[in-house]
Subunit: 249 residues, 2 copies
């Protein structure tokens, strides 16, 4: 664990997300996973299967954040162009990697290694492999970019593997306070003052709308558990005061 | 309907998505909705509740695409900073809008309009309002940027309202072909050749992994329905040939 703040971005690659055909589930999964490792996810982007778009996004994100996690575009078909785009972004060559061929031969007979399947063995020069226990064809890591599959179960297995090599930070302590029936518009002003006082915490207010009613939660996050606890106490006292002040909610 | 290609980006604003606390459902919903309007979603981004980040993303996206749809950050609490960030991006003032106060008075008594609730009436100068039938406080549109709530049901109602004012394009025809048990690695090579021949279509191959098995779909998209149908026919013929060639899958 590092004293440093470790940051990350996610780059989701795929026309199918932008066309609405596939609903992304990877951003939410990776976000929660990284929070558990004390890595701050700072940004996510979804781009189409267009090389220039992938390269441009990679170049911005890998310069800004400790890590970039990509999902999608590493399968055997013509629309899988992520590995080539990553090689281009890093200015390195890309070729069939004998380590990958060996892995794939655990799953396929030699005669089954079609040219399409061999595409999955194309790995940018200098990359480390990210193992894929589900379908063998691996992801990879080059520099600070971790390249994973788009299929959620395969991505999740790759993330478990890749996580072993990541620098991690101190986890945020997260305190969730149920505001119950007290609306945001009633606690917004005192919560704003309280957030200003507890400036080493991050305080958010999150409404959800169910069965015709809003239900609100206030979430306090801080690296220092004592500061999170202090802010939680202050939020609870504030809510109790509002609940008892006799004014209409 | 326009002959032009109409494009869009989504900007999701909110720490809660990046921390993993809330799983975004708006990108998928808006993506599908825009596809139905013949608007091509080209990019999506998720940024935190940080003004500079919101402004920077807005400036890039509104310059590149016909429309930008934002979700999140327009509630009554201190962490709701989207309206101010949008005003800053457009270089216009922002002030309490009497039209919004009037709308809010349909829901609240005058004495209930706390300073926090009045924050929701702050609208950048020159913006049109986007009505919110659910909880009254509206979104808005300024230039090509449509600003909506983050709560999915409220966002969806705002999108219905905003859609009436959008320029729409010709819908893509989408043909989905079940590849069944034929793996991507078997059809990847002929599919790639076929995609090159049908260059006015966009052909994607999408595996999903269920109960230990991959199941694949091939999706053809094109603005011209005849070209989509032709590519579909070619894909089906290719799959039938593979299924009958006697080689191991």
């Amino acid at each position: 664990m590092s004293e440093k703040i470790i940051t990350a971005a996610i780059l989701v690659i795929g026309d199918e997300i932008l066309s609405g055909r596939t609903k992304d589930r990877n951003i939410g999964y990776i976000a929660e996973y990284l929070a558990g490792l004390g890595i701050d996810l700072r940004e996510a982007r979804v781009v189409p299967d267009v090389e220039d778009e992938i390269v441009a996004a990679l170049d911005v994100l890998r310069g800004r954040y400790t890590y970039v996690f990509t999902t999608g575009g590493i399968g055997p078909t013509h629309d899988d162009i992520t590995a080539d785009a990553v090689a281009k972004a890093f200015g390195v060559g890309i070729d069939e990697d004998p380590r990958v061929i060996a892995m794939m031969l655990e799953r396929y007979k030699a005669g089954e290694l079609t040219p399409a399947r061999r595409r999955m063995a194309r790995i940018p020069a200098g990359a480390e492999l990210v193992e894929n226990p589900i379908s063998k064809a691996p992801g990879f890591r080059i520099g600070n970019v971790i390249v994973m599959a788009g299929v959620p179960s395969v991505m999740q297995a790759m993330l478990d593997f890749a996580a072993k090599g990541l620098e991690t930070g101190q986890r945020m302590t997260v305190e969730t306070i149920e505001a119950g029936a007290i609306p945001e518009g009633r606690y917004g002003d005192p919560l704003g003052r309280l957030a200003a006082q507890h400036s080493e915490t991050i305080i958010g207010s999150y409404p959800s709308f169910l069965d015709g009613k809003f239900k609100n939660q206030i979430v306090v996050r801080a690296r220092d558990p004592a500061k999170a606890a202090a802010a939680r106490g202050a939020v609870e006292a504030m809510l109790a005061e509002l609940a008892g002040d006799g004014k209409p909610l």
